[in-house]
């Protein structure tokens, strides 16, 4: 059957992606040599996870969020506190971080979901900064500006992933899971529902969709993934402080998906890798990281408003790849 053949090719493609992420890239990094390339790769993977998660709310559902780093921070602190104070291992702190960020996300989303467009954007900016102020000043709980030190490295069921190479594999696994989850949601009819909210939420409501519920779901899932990225960050960096979860980081994540293409999953991945790896490559001539980010963002808004890999072409790619055509001649449906 055609369906079986397409299912096989789907599996083959995911296997190929896994081989790239867990075989080819680490081999290349090892060939470049030293721990530093792995360090950069871990940062890139954490930001891939963050960009992919932000893309679900901002790119697909159209809720411009300027406070995403706040949820990343909630996850990181949840993992750091649980592991340093309660001695929880990574397999427990990871879901805890995701749940904590999702809970905070849904709580702040409930009252703000009525706001549209730039008003929502500004509300999320306020919320992101509130999270930062809380992390900074709730000293008895978060140790404030001193941050949390000596967060234990990652160990999964006796498997020691404490070095940079181990950290890479953990970060890659979480990034892959995040990509897979967002892929499932956006490349399905659920994705169509979210996109219709972005295009015209009143009209979507007239078609029987509950806009508030869908937005809260998308926001919760997105925050959960950002929280998981936070756990990876806490355990691989071993030290976190409130300054890693500020407006600037939120903007960096946003710039990644703008450059890559709002609503485009491969775009988010490419944008994140580009904005992390490129400034590293430019380090020789000085620290131009944020300047490069700003310039990239500006140029892409002006000259490539759909991003490097626009949503429409990305979706068309996935339809074809997944053999999801309901009919052979027109590739329009989703499975």
């Amino acid at each position: 059957m055609v369906a079986n053949a397409s299912r096989v090719s789907v599996a083959a493609r995911w296997l190929g992606l896994a081989a790239l992420l867990f075989g080819l890239i680490p081999a290349l990094l090892a060939a470049i040599g030293g721990g530093y390339p792995f360090q950069v790769a871990i940062t890139a993977l954490i930001f891939v996870t963050l960009a992919v998660s932000l893309n679900l709310v901002t790119g697909t559902a159209g809720l411009l969020s300027l406070g995403h780093a706040g949820f990343f921070g909630v996850g990181a602190y949840a993992a750091a506190l649980a592991s340093t104070k309660l001695g929880w291992p990574f397999p427990l702190t990871l879901p805890l971080a995701a749940v904590a960020a999702a809970v905070v996300g849904v709580l702040v989303a409930l009252p703000t979901m009525r706001l549209i467009s730039i008003y929502f954007a500004v509300a999320t900016l306020g919320i992101g900064e509130m999270i930062h102020v809380a992390l900074l000043n709730w000293v008895s709980f978060t140790r404030g500006p001193m941050g949390i030190r000596a967060i234990p490295p990652i160990e999964v069921l006796g498997l020691d992933l404490s070095g940079v190479v181990g950290g890479y594999y953990a970060a890659a696994a979480v990034a892959a899971a995040g990509i897979f989850a967002v892929h499932r949601l956006t490349h399905s009819y659920y994705g169509n529902a979210l996109r219709s909210l972005r295009e015209d939420d009143q009209c979507a409501a007239a078609m029987g969709l509950n806009p508030v519920r869908l937005k809260i779901e998308a926001f919760g899932v997105s925050c959960a993934i950002a929280g998981a990225a936070g756990a990876v960050y806490a355990h691989t960096a071993s030290f976190i402080s409130p300054d890693s979860f500020r407006f600037e980081e939120s903007i960096l994540i946003l710039a990644m998906i703008v450059v890559g293409g709002l609503g485009s999953l491969p775009g988010a991945v490419v944008g994140a890798v580009l904005l992390i790896v490129l400034p590293e490559a430019l380090r020789g001539i000085g620290d131009f990281r944020m300047i490069a980010v700003g310039v990239f963002m500006f140029l892409s808004i002006l000259f490539q408003p759909k991003g490097l890999l626009g949503e429409a072409s990305a979706i068309a790619l996935f339809r074809r790849q997944l053999g999801a055509a309901w009919r052979g001649d027109i590739q329009a449906g989703w499975k």
Partner: protein, 307 residues
């Protein structure tokens, strides 16, 4: 609990009012630009920083009288505002029809482009001046103590009061008694209509950016000299707070923004009696979120579109 009539409390009120006037000067720029284009100018905080740096460079270079420093900062701020409009707003603006002018895509694109310009501006300043606080010549600081009865004011307080009142008065005069003011009000009211009666909308928009940015830049140098710290990231907090004041004031109302800015300044200043200084920023962000959720019309009940 503090005695509500003690000198300390009065002192906090006065400090809060100076702070609020500074927020007001910054908020006016936001409000003018939002009124005319319906967009949020995310680079407005950087204009404030640019004003502070321009003033500082002049002080270090020539040590002129304070008035000259402020006027210079305003001129540089106005020029920066015009450049900002050219770079981040005009390329994205399309005047084809009312719908596309106010469309979400246009608003979000300009929000992002102004954000990008603000990042580049700020990071360039970090690159050239370092991210640290700048050294300000002692003579230029506005920290000379003036005792009024039990109150301890500084000449900075007085200067901020004086300059803000003059600038707010000047703005009112400009908006209601001059041709430029008339065209700004006309374009704010109805862009296409203003165009039909022969108003040059692009020039009016440029004028709005120049005026709003000049006020923001003046606030930047005044605060820099009053607090004694000028650094590339200084624009973020007043930018956000001025934005809060604009939202609380009902988005396009200048009196509303000014009153809200004063309220915000005083509440922040008085709140340090009750909560530690670190938590004080929570007030502005909290007010922002609460206003957006519960008072979408602003605190003073101006009508406005769906938020």
């Amino acid at each position: 609990m503090p005695d509500f009539f003690d000198a300390y409390f009065a002192q906090q009120i006065i400090n809060g009012l100076s702070l609020g006037l500074v927020y007001a000067l910054v908020a006016i720029g936001f409000t003018l630009i939002f009124g005319i284009l319906n967009v949020v100018n995310f680079a407005h905080g950087e204009i404030y920083t640019v004003g502070a740096f321009a003033g500082l460079l002049l002080i270090v270079g020539a040590a002129p009288p304070l008035l000259a420093v402020v006027l210079f900062a305003m001129a540089v701020g106005a020029a920066a505002g015009v450049g900002l409009e050219r770079l981040a707003f005009r390329p994205i603006r399309r005047f084809s029809d009312e719908a596309s002018l106010k469309s979400r895509a246009m608003r979000e694109a300009t929000l992002l482009s102004s954000l990008a310009v603000s990042i580049v501006t700020r990071e360039l300043m970090v690159h050239f001046f370092s991210g640290e606080m700048q050294v300000i010549p002692q003579a230029a600081l506005l920290q000379e103590v003036i005792a009024v009865g039990p109150l301890t004011l500084t000449n900075g307080n007085l200067f901020i009061f004086g300059a803000s009142v003059v600038m707010l008065g000047g703005l009112q005069f400009m908006l209601y008694r001059t041709r430029v003011g008339l065209s700004i009000r006309a374009v704010s009211n109805n862009v296409l209509g203003a165009r039909h009666v022969g108003i040059d909308t692009n020039r009016t928009i440029v004028a709005t950016f120049a005026i709003g940015s000049a006020l923001g830049a003046a606030a930047g140098i005044l605060v820099g000299l009053y607090n004694g710290n000028i650094f590339p990231y200084m624009g973020f907090a007043p930018g956000v707070k001025a934005f809060v004041a604009m939202v609380m004031g009902g988005l396009s109302s200048i009196p509303g923004a000014v009153i809200s800015a004063l309220l915000l300044g005083v509440s922040e200043s008085v709140a340090t009696d009750f909560i530690s200084a670190g938590w004080k920023d929570m007030i502005a962000y909290g007010l922002l979120v609460v206003t957006l959720i519960f008072f979408p019309q602003g605190l003073f009940g101006h009508g406005r579109e769906r938020v």
